[in-house]
């Protein structure tokens, strides 16, 4: 069994806003984000604040690294058997998202910022080494 995303509709998928909240919401359906959450967001001198269930949140917008697109996918049809491939369709896409801390100003030490550093490191690790630039030799440990 493998999992595939039907990418044909990437270009036509609607762009949406996306929020990463510092709480676990036991709900996997649509929610009134525009009406009930985005109406609480305020921006003062680049600092974003919002609130969820009356709790104060501090937020920061994060642009996705270049070359990446955020996708919201949906499994329109559940695979009938375990062997069958699963197919996911694109519902919408995003190029930035806002992550929120619970009553704590955002910083470079936040998990999201730190996790995204890996993308730069992975790019370097996985790009071919150019012989001319390779001035350092690997350490053999002898």
């Amino acid at each position: 069994m493998s999992m595939q995303i039907n990418t044909e509709t990437v270009s036509t998928a609607p762009e949406i806003s996306c929020h990463l909240l510092p709480c676990e919401i036991h709900h996997n359906e649509e929610a009134n984000v525009c009406k009930y959450f985005e109406t609480t967001i305020r921006k003062e001198e680049d600092l974003l604040t919002g609130c969820m269930h009356g709790r104060p949140l501090d937020g920061e917008k994060v642009a996705l690294p270049s070359g990446y697109t955020g996708l919201v996918v949906i499994e329109s049809r559940k695979a009938a058997t375990e062997e069958e491939d699963r197919m996911l369709d694109i519902k919408s896409k995003f190029n930035e998202f806002t992550y929120w801390n619970l009553d704590k100003p955002t910083s470079k030490e936040d998990m999201v910022s730190k996790a995204l550093q890996w993308i730069d490191i992975a790019n370097i690790l996985h790009s071919p080494i150019n012989q001319d630039e390779c001035s350092q030799r690997s350490v053999t440990g002898k």
Binding site: H26, A31, Y36, F37, T40, R42, H53, G54, R55, L102
Partner: protein
């Protein structure tokens, strides 16, 4: 009462005030403080102050100022009109503390309780009136908590002013009645003219007194509940009534600072001695590097 300043953003606390009459800057004055809408689960809480020269005691009495709770809404409004008309002798200031501000304060990581919040609002009003150059000599404050503690706190902050904190001061001192009327009129106005950012139509909407015990208030809360986000910004999430409805009728939401009973259970008791002799199949070489665990990064092959 013009509240356009507050209506520009109903999530932020807001001061509304009259000009300080010239005579209050030269003549010694008294200042009363009272609050409105402390108990309700709906709408803002308002702190109000009213001040005038000590010699204007009769004027305040003639105006018929009385405890705002014994007056009808119309009577309170006409009293506020009178205070407004006496603007050459009487000054006022109110601070509107909207539900969002109250909830956010009470539900911080480090809780800021309603008493501290109330005291700070009252102290803020006194400081702002003093900053206008008003010659305040006597302060009268209505309280719901312990009067002595509160009085000592205020005396420490304003050592040169005579301070009286008393229960039901709004019925005893006309200047406190004035403050109570300003606060109550501001609260009523803000509730009546509330516009829901969430797009709820207020036409024909009934939400009762806003007190948790009012059946209409309860009905409004249950019917306007959003399963995920709970209530509108008109509701004080920090009231137990609100929290209970969310817990019962909304989807489950867990926060990182929720007390986790499961975890506590594990912490109880110590491991059996035998576990220390068990052979471990756990190969540390197969563990992901700390770089990844620190960042909560795991590889994903399936959803």
């Amino acid at each position: 009462m013009d509240q356009s300043k507050f209506e520009a953003d109903r999530t932020k606390k807001c001061i509304l005030e009259s000009e300080a009459p010239e005579c209050t800057k030269s003549e010694p004055c008294w200042l009363g403080i009272d609050e409105a809408g402390r108990g309700p689960v709906l709408g803002p809480m308002v702190y109000g102050t009213c001040y005038s020269p000590l010699t204007s005691g009769d004027l305040l009495k003639e105006m018929g100022l009385a405890d705002s709770k014994t007056l009808s809404e119309e009577q309170r409004e006409s009293m506020f009109e009178k205070i407004h008309e006496a603007s050459d002798k009487v000054g006022w200031m109110v601070e509107i503390l909207p539900p969002t501000y109250i909830s956010n304060s009470m539900l911080r990581r480090i809780k800021y309780n309603l008493n501290a919040l109330s005291h700070d609002s009252a102290i803020g009003l006194i400081e702002k009136v003093l900053a206008k150059g008003v010659n305040v000599q006597e302060i009268y404050v209505d309280t719901v908590g312990d009067p002595m503690k509160y009085q000592n706190k205020l005396k420490g902050l304003f050592p040169n002013i005579s301070i009286t904190v008393a229960k039901k001061a709004d019925a005893t001192y006309p200047v406190v009645s004035g403050a109570s009327i300003c606060a109550k009129v501001a609260r009523d106005y803000s509730v009546k003219n509330w516009i829901f950012a969430e797009g709820i139509d207020t036409e024909g909407l009934v939400y009762g007194s806003g007190y948790p015990s009012d059946p209409n208030t309860k009905k409004f809360m249950s019917s306007s509940l959003d399963k995920v986000f709970g209530f509108t910004q008109f509701v004080r999430f920090s009231w137990s009534t609100a929290a209970l409805i969310i817990e019962k009728e909304g989807v489950q939401v867990r926060w990182e600072d929720d007390d986790d009973e499961e975890e506590n259970k594990d912490a109880k008791g110590s491991a059996s001695l035998l576990t220390f002799f068990k052979r471990s199949d756990d190969d540390p070489k197969l563990h992901r590097h700390q770089y990844f665990t620190d960042r909560c990064l795991t590889s994903l092959t399936n959803l």
